[in-house]
């Protein structure tokens, strides 16, 4: 096993249903690795198992069998409370629906992961401001989510996902609810963060445009990983074309 792997998944199976209901195999023996500082995309049609895979890596669900290691730690051996702490410290989340708490201001939303680790208030204030400046959202820190646009909300969500400097950022269709300009902004932001802070990003999407920002794309279909596309030295547009071509042949 590569020592620099942030995520390493071995022979992962997930079956839904049981004795009284029809069985459905969502994942059938997935193997993958994400290296430190890598920006990896998981692409697939709806029902292909990509969200199931993300949920398992995010420790939100448990697999039927297989192994998941994040930073060399076997997360399946962690107890419920340890899992919560693990999520709070090691992982950052960006969801399609932003998942902001609308009863907290933008600043308070961003501060949340830090309050979970009982960081001092002064420290929290400084860190929140720093990350907000980095993401150009410092002007609306005191506003509530309901007062923000979709793009602004997703930036706040990104700030919340990054404020505690996680090793791994998990993004589930982060551009799904954004207009094309905001989507482009966010993806460029993610790329920048990935390069500047060396955070590994795992992006789940069915959108080829979003996927074209990644270094590597794993195509998932019916619970199995098929093709892997690598960007290498290609431009983003070239890579985008490659993804489109691949999608045409893969389907």
């Amino acid at each position: 096993m590569n020592n620099k792997a942030v995520v390493s998944v071995n022979n992962l199976f997930k079956t839904y249903g049981g004795r009284n209901s029809a069985k459905y195999e969502a994942l059938k023996g997935i193997n993958l690795e994400v290296q430190s500082g890598e920006f990896v995309g998981i692409m697939g049609a709806s029902g292909s198992g990509k969200t199931t895979l993300l949920n398992l890596i995010a420790t939100l669900d448990r697999p039927t069998s297989g192994e998941i290691r994040i930073n060399q730690q076997d997360i399946l051996n962690l107890k419920k409370n340890e899992l919560s702490d693990f999520r709070a410290q090691e992982l950052g989340f960006i969801f399609q629906d932003f998942s902001l708490l609308e009863n907290l201001t933008a600043a308070e939303n961003i501060a949340l992961p830090l309050t979970l680790t009982n960081t001092k208030k002064a420290q929290i204030d400084t860190t929140v401001l720093q990350v907000a400046q980095k993401l150009s959202i410092e002007d609306f820190l005191s506003q509530y989510p309901a007062q923000l646009s979709g793009g602004q909300k997703q930036r706040v969500a990104a700030a919340r996902a990054l404020v505690h400097e996680p090793q791994l950022l998990l993004a589930d269709e982060p551009t799904g609810a954004l207009d094309s300009n905001s989507a482009r902004d966010l993806l460029e932001l993610l790329t920048e963060i990935n390069q500047a802070s060396n955070v590994s990003i795992l992006l789940v999407t069915h959108d080829p445009f979003s996927a074209s920002y990644c270094n590597r794309i794993l195509m998932i279909k019916d619970g199995v990983i098929g093709n892997t596309l690598k960007r290498d030295s290609k431009t983003r547009t070239e890579f985008y074309q490659e993804i489109l071509t691949d999608l045409g042949t893969y389907r």
Binding site: K80, Q89, L101, L104, A111, L112, A146
Partner: protein, 608 residues
């Protein structure tokens, strides 16, 4: 098709509808219970010795009506909250507003009328059980209470019918007038709390002035008479609203600035509390008033319950007198908790009753030491009566003779030395005098002993022979008040608790999304559960504390009706708070189950 869609909605959200249905049933049951008393003029006049009792109850009924209106409007908004998105979806598919209106009518009618009917039956059952149980507890024979009270049934159906109609009209208006988009997003509308501090100060000042006016009116009830009650209700209710509204958000704002809030998910809990402040202010002020009314009623009820036996004990040093005890009376006496049990031999002729001096020296006759004004609620103290006093023309002489059978009472009392006493001719008899520790507890036995007694003085005239007789008479005078106090206390407690519980639980739909979000980003179950306990704790503590303060002030009003309304009132407060605490725990458990419990935090295959 419309009917199918409407009922499919009910089936799909069965557990939510169950909360709604049971909440409404309890609401109408309590309303009926109160109405059954308030509309029963005969019962009120027969049992309560206050001339204005009917008016007091009329005010109570008006108050309860207002509370019920608020309560039902919560229920309706809960129902609509569940259904808005469905309605919006049907409209996208081309359902006309007229069809949606029909669906609303059908659903509301089914839920509200159904629950009213169940509530009526429940209310009748509760009236019967509660009144019988209470009447037994306080040894008070209820006269004229009818479980099936026609005017009360009519008032309950009328009120809940009207509420159902207005709920339907309001909902239909909303669906017709609002844009499709806002119907679809009805659940996502959030009210941003007002941040203006000057306004908050002004608001709390206004609230405090209103509260001051209300309590002043209550304390000077002898000047304002009956007008004090509606005046106090209006001023105290609105004052409470303003103070809670301003103070609550001010405190939360203040806390949010503090470093102490930046630990765990305290910030979230504060945000959660502040976020729905408008809604909670209304329910909190209502619950505060209800809490005060319920606790006040119970304190007064318990006050009378405690006061009646003590007051009665001052009327005689003995609880019961038995002439010529038999095996049957001995058997009863043996089972009683007594502080005094003496037997005196006596001989009587035409005009004298002779007592044995030696026996009197050994076990002197006792008399109550009259109480000072400030000690009227303590158990009475006793003194021994000297032989001289007993034989003279004294109060003690009279009191002793009252313990004799009727035929002996006008004879002269003579105390003889033992030798002479043994030689005197006449009818021999034994007088047994007992004193019980607690009149309330010993009532059943005393009642049986009374039947063995030769003299039943109370029935002969106005003279009281023993403290038990005084107790019986006092109970008919004040027992009505005691009954009403306890009855209303229990009714209000049930109503307020279900109100608060209902309000908290009706917010679970949106809260669930928030708590699930927190679970995802790494907050443990344990922390979330604790946060919920805190959050709901605050919602319960505010009206609780305010309610206790209100009762402390409101008891001033009873200084005219009771000797010392504050005596040991803390016991009632403790008992009440314990019941209230049980509701709190129940709400927390239910809420935790509704908001946190999942198969896995990420949802299932179809979730996320």
């Amino acid at each position: 098709m419309i009917r199918k869609l409407a009922f499919a909605g009910i089936q799909r959200r069965w557990s939510d509808y169950l909360v709604l249905f049971s909440g409404l049933s309890i609401g109408s049951a309590i309303f009926y219970m109160f109405a059954a008393l308030a509309t029963n003029d005969k019962f009120l006049k027969a049992n309560i010795n206050i001339s204005s009792v009917t008016q007091v109850f009329a005010f109570g009924l008006i108050l309860l009506t207002i509370i019920t209106i608020v309560y039902v409007s919560y229920a309706q908004s809960f129902l609509l909250g569940m259904r808005y998105q469905d309605y919006g979806l049907f409209m996208i598919f081309g359902a006309k507003p007229r069809k949606i209106s029909q669906m609303i009518l059908l659903e509301t009618a089914t839920v509200q009328l159904g629950s009213t009917m169940i509530g009526l039956v429940l209310g009748m059952g509760l009236t019967k059980i509660a009144s019988q149980w209470l009447a037994n507890q306080i040894h008070f024979p209820l006269t004229g209470l009818s479980v099936v009270q026609l005017p009360a049934i009519f008032v309950t159906i009328a009120l809940f019918g009207l509420l159902a109609i207005s709920s339907v009209l309001v909902s239909q208006w909303i669906v017709r007038k609002k844009s499709l988009n806002s119907i679809l997003k009805a659940n996502q509308i959030s009210n941003q709390p007002n941040q203006d501090n000057k306004l908050k100060i002004l608001e709390s000042m206004g609230g405090l002035i209103l509260l001051g006016l209300g309590f002043t009116a209550m304390m000077h009830i002898e000047v304002l008479q009956l007008a004090a009650i509606p005046f106090a209700l209006v001023t105290i209710s609105s004052g409470t609203y303003l103070v809670i509204h301003s103070l609550f958000s001010w405190v939360i704002n203040w806390l949010k600035q503090k470093a102490i809030s930046y630990r765990g998910i305290r910030l979230f809990t504060l945000g959660q509390l502040r976020f729905r402040i408008e809604n909670y202010t209304r329910v909190l002020s209502m619950v505060t008033i209800l809490f005060a009314l319920a606790l006040g009623a119970i304190v007064v009820g318990v006050g009378y319950h405690r006061q009646i036996p003590i007051m009665s004990s001052y009327s005689s040093a003995y609880s019961m007198n038995i002439t010529n005890p038999t095996r049957a009376t001995d058997k009863i006496v043996a089972k009683m908790d007594l502080t005094k049990n003496n037997e005196y031999s006596q001989v009587s002729d035409q005009s004298h009753v002779y007592l044995n001096q030696a026996q009197l020296k050994q076990q002197p006759i006792e008399a109550v030491i009259p109480a000072n004004a400030d000690k009227q609620l303590a158990q009475p103290q006793y003194k021994s009566v000297s032989i001289k006093q007993l034989m003279g023309q004294t109060v003690d002489n009279r009191a002793f003779l009252m313990l004799e059978p009727l035929a002996q009472r006008n004879k002269k009392l003579v105390v003889l030395p033992e030798r002479q006493f043994n030689q005197v001719n006449g009818t021999k008899s034994t007088l047994q005098l007992i004193r019980v520790r607690d009149l309330n507890q010993s009532v059943p036995q005393l009642k049986r002993l009374e039947a063995y007694q030769h003299s039943v003085a109370a029935k002969q005239g106005y003279e009281i022979t023993n403290s038990y007789e005084m107790f019986v008479i006092s109970n008919t005078l004040f027992g009505g008040l005691e009954f009403i106090g306890l009855f209303l206390g229990i009714a209000f407690l049930t109503m307020l608790a279900s109100c608060l519980m209902f309000k908290v639980l009706s917010g679970t739909k949106m809260d669930r999304i928030r708590y699930q979000m927190l679970l995802k980003i790494g907050v443990s179950d344990k922390k979330l559960k604790r946060a919920i306990a805190y959050e709901i704790g605050v919602l319960f503590v505010i009206p609780g504390v305010a309610g206790i303060v209100y009762v402390a002030l409101g008891l001033q009003m009873f200084k005219k009706l009771m000797v010392d309304p504050y005596d040991q009132w803390w016991w009632a407060v403790l008992g009440f708070t314990a019941c209230y605490g049980v509701y709190y725990l129940l709400t927390v458990k239910l809420y935790q189950r509704l908001v946190i419990k999942t198969r896995n935090p990420g949802g299932d295959k179809l979730g996320v």
